[in-house]
Symmetry: C2
Subunit: 368 residues, 2 copies
Amino acid sequence: MNLSDLPTPALVLERPILARNMAAMATPLARHRVTLRPHLKTAKSIDVARLALGGRPGGITVSTLAEAEYFVSYGITDILYAVGITPEKLVQVAKLNGAGADIAVITDDPETAAVIGAYPTPIRAMIEIDCGEARGGILPEDPALLLLAAALAPRFAGVMTHAGHSYAACDRAQIAAIAEAERTAVVRAAERLGAAGYAVPIVSMGSSPTTLAAPSFNGITEVRAGVYMFGDLFQAAIGTHGPDDIALTVLASVIGRRPEAHRFLIDAGAIALSKDRSTQATAHDYGYGLVRSLAGQASFGTAIVQRAYQEHGVVGADPARPFPALKVGDKVRVVPNHTCLTAAAHDRYFVTDDNVEVAAVWPRVNGW
Amino acid sequence: MNLSDLPTPALVLERPILARNMAAMATPLARHRVTLRPHLKTAKSIDVARLALGGRPGGITVSTLAEAEYFVSYGITDILYAVGITPEKLVQVAKLNGAGADIAVITDDPETAAVIGAYPTPIRAMIEIDCGEARGGILPEDPALLLLAAALAPRFAGVMTHAGHSYAACDRAQIAAIAEAERTAVVRAAERLGAAGYAVPIVSMGSSPTTLAAPSFNGITEVRAGVYMFGDLFQAAIGTHGPDDIALTVLASVIGRRPEAHRFLIDAGAIALSKDRSTQATAHDYGYGLVRSLAGQASFGTAIVQRAYQEHGVVGADPARPFPALKVGDKVRVVPNHTCLTAAAHDRYFVTDDNVEVAAVWPRVNGW
């Protein structure tokens, strides 16, 4: 089957770019001798996970318990569930761990830590550190740090942080500075815990931008990153990868033409693309995505999806070019703003090696 | 099972509000003696479709062929697929029609119309009219109107339009004016076709706001509307329904607390809520959703989801109130900006009649 035969909208994954992005992440990590614990929140696919692990048996990060259960079913046991746990969710974690998994959880909440510490079956738990994002976690100097470790006691497995605010940085130097702040925050927390007599087996940091820009991983035992695998227009804008390193696109059909208004309609709208507008905050606003040819080429210049309705995308053609010679039914590919959210609406990847043939179909695990 | 026992995030549907919203739509339509062809793009559920049809055997609108196939499998045969068709997609429509369905398609493209007209099996087709939204369709005075009808010839089934630009209106009077423009556009197209000798069995208009505000349906044979069933913060802002008529919410767990910053974290983020920000354009910006109690009460005042990460929602508590007495694991409900997109990430509804018990679980048909 060829890409041109697929029903639309559909998610297309270019395997050569995926492989290149994975190599681009492996190189600096090998230089620094730090282990990657790939975050599968973007890919949600065992096929991608195996490539990301590069032959290692496991050690992954997930964002939902549905992902955890799915990856356990494929034999991956070493999993970090990197969203603050609740007491209720420990039941499902314990069940999976009882069936052979080793899922670690994270917390920054004293009451939850006490529940984990006293849980009838062992569940490893890490303390979440806030390195500046102001989302989850406690500051490294917070007095609660030692209280949390004490509450977790035999289940305490380490510290972790995530510099999600690196996404708001404008250039590599800024991201490198955030990466260093990310490292020092979590290492400082580990030092305080070490000084108080706790073994801190895992000291984990990571986001794709900071992992690729970090000047040092001293004191870090592992990094977590996910979006680097596929890339997107936003990550290209902040320099995580180059503009041609985006492996994921949405295949769409032209469903209407307005040559006089210099625009056309496609059947990829707000669900197929997501309403993420992250490039709006960067130097170049790509609307709801950049439109390329069926073969993935930049044949339409600056054409972007200007409006996104539930199942309609309104494409503004490049004003500097003649109206594209596209008929209703012809296919295009849309490069996404934010690959994690665009992928989320699709249940599978159509994998291609040559932008012509579908080489494989890889399912995704969506939902919760 | 109670709502409080559900894994989170989860989609909660309040059946009494759903019934009320359906009655609120039925009343003006009964007065005007016009038929509703409910749009199931929002609900994507046979259980909701049956309620929307109120005992009639069918006559629905869909936004994807996956919806069409799903509803056909439940015995609904009279279906309008209201997104511009492509020649390739006719194959699936023909297959479903061959199995007993009667799916009508829409087009505004002469080449596609010629394919439909010459298709080996009959597929009814309507001409899409642009009444001012500038998305799909031709203007009612466009010379192409008669050419399209000629190309469709024996398959020509009528004209349809959609005033999606009613969503940008500020008050009921503006929406009523857009509704009248919607009506006159599609009726004018029908008149031109009638004058040229074509029978025009279907003259279809509709959006939830215009259907509820329309002063007249003269010349209209049916209306299409969907979002009115569930409602959302945006539709409340433009007056489609009242602020207490929102039937759909996302159940979420508190996963972190920052009393000193007057905010807390929930496990409903950009996927569970969508990144739709439609209330940003209205008088009151609700961020990524308004936070209510587990019982659906306005217990947290103006608390909204201020930031939405993939699986994290950052809730800003009401500055005029003390920090909510919520522990990690406690549950809240998030009222969405745009119900169609919020529902899209979830595979089922947990239906409640009393905001306590789960009375039913209704699956959804997502994807394409």
